[in-house]
C-alpha cells in the first residue's frame, strides 16, 4: 500500500470512486468507461460524475441493453491494449455476462498460453432495501471467487474504494469490483493524490481477543457497529475486513483465529458455497487439527430476497444479530444476550430512502 503524503479530506465513497477513475483516465489514455447510464445526469448515483465533461463521449459512453455482448466488447478492447471499465448498476445483471466473464475473461490469459492479457474492471453495485427484492439485491462475488483468473474486490469504505479502484484499473487482469449501494454516502478521509490499495492485504479494523469477526463489503461496517455494542458487554472483537477476496489474505485472518479460536464470518450474500464458506474452510484446514475451533457463518437468509420491509429486515444480518451471534460464541456458557435493536441501528440505514 503506498502512503501518499498529500492532504486528506473527508470524501464520500461514491465520490472516491469517481475521483479514482478520473485520475486514472487522466493518467492513462487507454482507460475508458462504458455501461448503461454511465453518462446520464444521475451518473450511476454520482459515481461517474464529471467524467463526461472532462473526457468526452469517446471515453465514457452508454451502451444498448446488451450486457452479454458489451462484456465481450470490454474483453476485446482489453486484449487490444485498452483498459475498459464496464459498469453495471446492479450486480444481478452480471448473470447476463457470466459466459464472457467466466469462459473468456477469466481464462484468456491462461488458455492462450500468456499471449494476451485482459486488463478490465467490472464495476457493479449490490442493492439493498426499499423493495430491491429478488433481482436487485444479490451479491454474486462467490461465483467469481470460484473461478481461477478473476480478481474480486469489495471495498467497504471510501479510502479503500479509491485505492482499490486505482489498483484495479492498473491490474493486468479482469477485476470484479463489488460496491454496495448503502456505502455510497459513507465518508472517510481520502487523500487527494492517487494511491493504490494493494490486493491481498486484509485490514484489521479492531483489535480484540475474544473472537475473530470477518465482515465482507458493507458487512464490515455492520460488524463494526456490532463490535461497539459488544464492547459494552466486555466482548472484544478482532475485526477484519478482507477488502480483496481474490487474492484473499488468509494469513491475517488465520493468525487472528489462531489466537481467538473463534471465527464468525459475515457476508453480503448467501452462505452456501459463499465467500464465508471459503474463509471458514481455509481457516479450518489450517487450524482445525490443533484444537477446538468455533466457526460460524452469517449472510443472507437461505431464501430469495423479499421486497416487503417486514421480511427484508429479517433477510439480512445486522449489527444486532451479529452481536448476538458473536456473544453466544464468545461466552458459550453465559446467558444469551442481544443488544437493544434501536440502539443497534446504523446511521446510513436511517438515512437511505427510495426509490433507488
Amino acid at each position: 500500500m503506498s502512503s501518499p503524503n498529500a492532504a486528506t479530506r473527508q470524501l464520500r465513497y461514491v465520490d472516491a470512486l469517481a475521483e479514482a477513475v478520473s485520475q486514472e483516465m487522466a493518467r492513462d489514455d487507454s482507460v475508458f468507461v462504458f455501461g448503461l447510464d454511465v453518462d446520464d445526469h444521475k451518473s450511476i448515483q454520482g459515481s461517474t460524475r464529471g467524467l463526461l465533461d472532462r473526457f468526452g463521449p469517446e471515453r465514457i459512453f452508454t451502451t444498448p441493453l446488451s450486457e452479454d455482448a458489451m462484456t465481450g466488447v470490454a474483453i476485446g478492447a482489453a486484449m487490444a491494449g485498452m483498459r475498459p471499465i464496464h459498469v453495471h448498476i446492479r450486480m444481478d445483471f452480471l448473470l447476463l455476462c457470466m459466459n464472457q466473464i467466466v469462459n473468456m475473461a477469466a481464462k484468456a490469459h491462461y488458455m492462450y498460453g500468456g499471449a494476451v492479457k485482459v486488463p478490465m474492471v467490472v464495476r457493479s453495485m449490490i442493492g439493498k432495501s426499499w423493495g430491491q427484492g429478488a433481482q436487485h439485491s444479490q451479491g454474486l462475488h462467490s461465483m467469481f471467487m470460484h473461478v481461477p483468473g478473476l480478481k474480486v474486490v469489495a471495498p467497504s469504505n471510501a479510502y479503500d474504494a479509491k485505492g482499490c479502484m486505482m489498483a484495479a484499473i492498473r491490474d493486468d487482469n479482469p477485476v470484479i469490483f463489488m460496491e454496495h449501494r448503502l456505502l455510497y454516502s459513507t465518508e472517510a478521509p481520502v487523500p487527494e493524490d492517487p494511491y493504490t490499495v494493494e490486493f491481498g492485504r486484509a485490514r484489521r479494523m479492531l483489535e480484540g481477543d475474544n473472537i475473530t469477526v470477518v465482515g465482507v463489503s458493507n458487512m464490515a461496517v455492520e460488524c463494526l457497529r456490532a463490535a461497539e455494542l459488544l464492547r459494552e458487554v466486555d466482548v472484544s472483537v478482532d475485526l477484519i475486513d478482507p477488502i480483496s477476496l481474490v487474492p484473499l489474505d488468509i494469513d491475517t485472518i488465520a493468525q487472528s483465529v489462531a489466537r481467538t479460536r473463534k471465527l464468525l464470518v459475515v457476508d453480503n450474500s448467501w452462505t452456501s458455497c459463499g465467500a464465508s464458506a471459503e474463509i471458514a474452510s481455509q481457516v479450518t484446514e489450517r487450524l482445525g487439527g490443533s484444537g477446538p475451533l468455533q466457526v460460524r457463518r452469517m449472510g443472507f437468509a437461505p431464501t430469495t430476497c423479499p421486497t416487503t420491509p417486514a421480511l427484508e429486515q429479517l433477510f439480512y444480518p445486522n449489527p444486532s444479530t451479529i452481536a448476538e451471534a458473536a456473544y453466544a460464541m464468545a461466552r458459550p456458557n453465559g446467558a444469551s444476550w442481544r443488544p437493544d435493536p434501536e440502539h443497534a441501528k446504523l446511521a446510513y440505514q436511517a438515512q437511505f430512502k427510495g426509490p433507488f
Binding site: 444498448p64 441493453l65 423493495g131 429478488a134 421486497t307 416487503t308 420491509p309 426509490p355 433507488f356
Partner: protein, 318 residues
Amino acid sequence: MTSQYTPEIVARLYRSLYFIRRFEERVAAIYPSDKIKSPVHLSIGQEFISVGVCDALRSDDAVSGTYRGHAAYLAKGGDPAAMMAEMYGKVTGSAAGRGGSMHLIDTKANVLGASAVVGTTIPIAAGYALALKRQKTDRVVAAFFGDGASEEGCFYETLNFAALHKLPILFVCENNFYAIHEPQSKRWATDRFCERVATFGIETRKITSGDLFEVRDTTAELVDKLRRGEGPALIECHAYRWREHVGPNEDYDQGYRPRSEMEPWEARDEVPRIAALLPEAERAAIEAEAEVAIEAAVVFAEQSPFPAPEELYRHVFA
C-alpha cells in the same frame, strides 16, 4: 375508430383506461408518504397500449408484462386490491408481499409474473405459448416489453424460436424512445425495427398514432391469426413516458429530455378523448366507480397485515 365500436365497448375501454390512470396517480400521491417502499415505474401516458391489447384478448389468454407493468396487469383484469397491497408489502399482496411493484402476477387473470431484469420475460412468455400450443388450445400470449428490452440478445433468440415453432405469441414493444435516461439514438443503430423482425417471418405492425382503437383493431386482427396457428406477430407501438423512469414525479427539469417532447402526446391523451365519446352520465358513473374501487384497494392495502416473520422461509421450494 371503426364502426364495430359499440357504446358498450367504448365504455369498457374507458373504464379500464380511466381506472389505470387514476390508480397510478393515486400511487404517485401515496408515494411521498413512504408507505410504498418499492421502486415504482409508472405507465402514465402509455396505458392505451395495454388497454387496447388486452381488450382484444380473451380472459383465458395470457399477458406477460414488465417492471413497468401496472397497466398490463390492470388491463388484463389483475386484482387491484392485491396489487396495492403488494406495493405496501402486505401479506395480502398479489405476491404475498415478496415482489412489490416490479413483480406483479395474477394467475387467475392469466397475468404472468413480471421481472425486474429487462428482457427476461420475453422467452418465458414464448415458453408459455409453447405449452399452450402443445396443449392444443387456441389461447395466446401477449408479451409486453420496452424498446430497451429489444436490445437484449434473448429477444432475437426468442423471435427466431417463436417463428420457427409458429408459437401463438403476440410481441408488443412499447417504444417510448428511452431506456431510463438514454435516448434511442445512443442505443439503436437504426430504427428499422419492424423490418428486422419481419425477416424472421413474423408479421409486424407499427403504430405511431397513439390511438387506442388502432391498437385494439390491430391486436384483434393479429390474434385471429395467432389462434389459427399462423405463427407469432409483433406490434411496435410508439408512446411516451410522462413521468420519471422510476418514482412518482415528472423530470423534465433534469435536462435529458425537453417537456416539448411530451406535449404532443399529452395533447392527444386517450383519457379525455375517449371520455368525450361517452354520454356524460355514463362517463361520470364509470369514473365514480373507479374512484370507489381505488379507494377500496388503498383501504385494503392499509388495513392488511404485514407478513409474519416465519413467512420469510416459505416458498423457497414448491
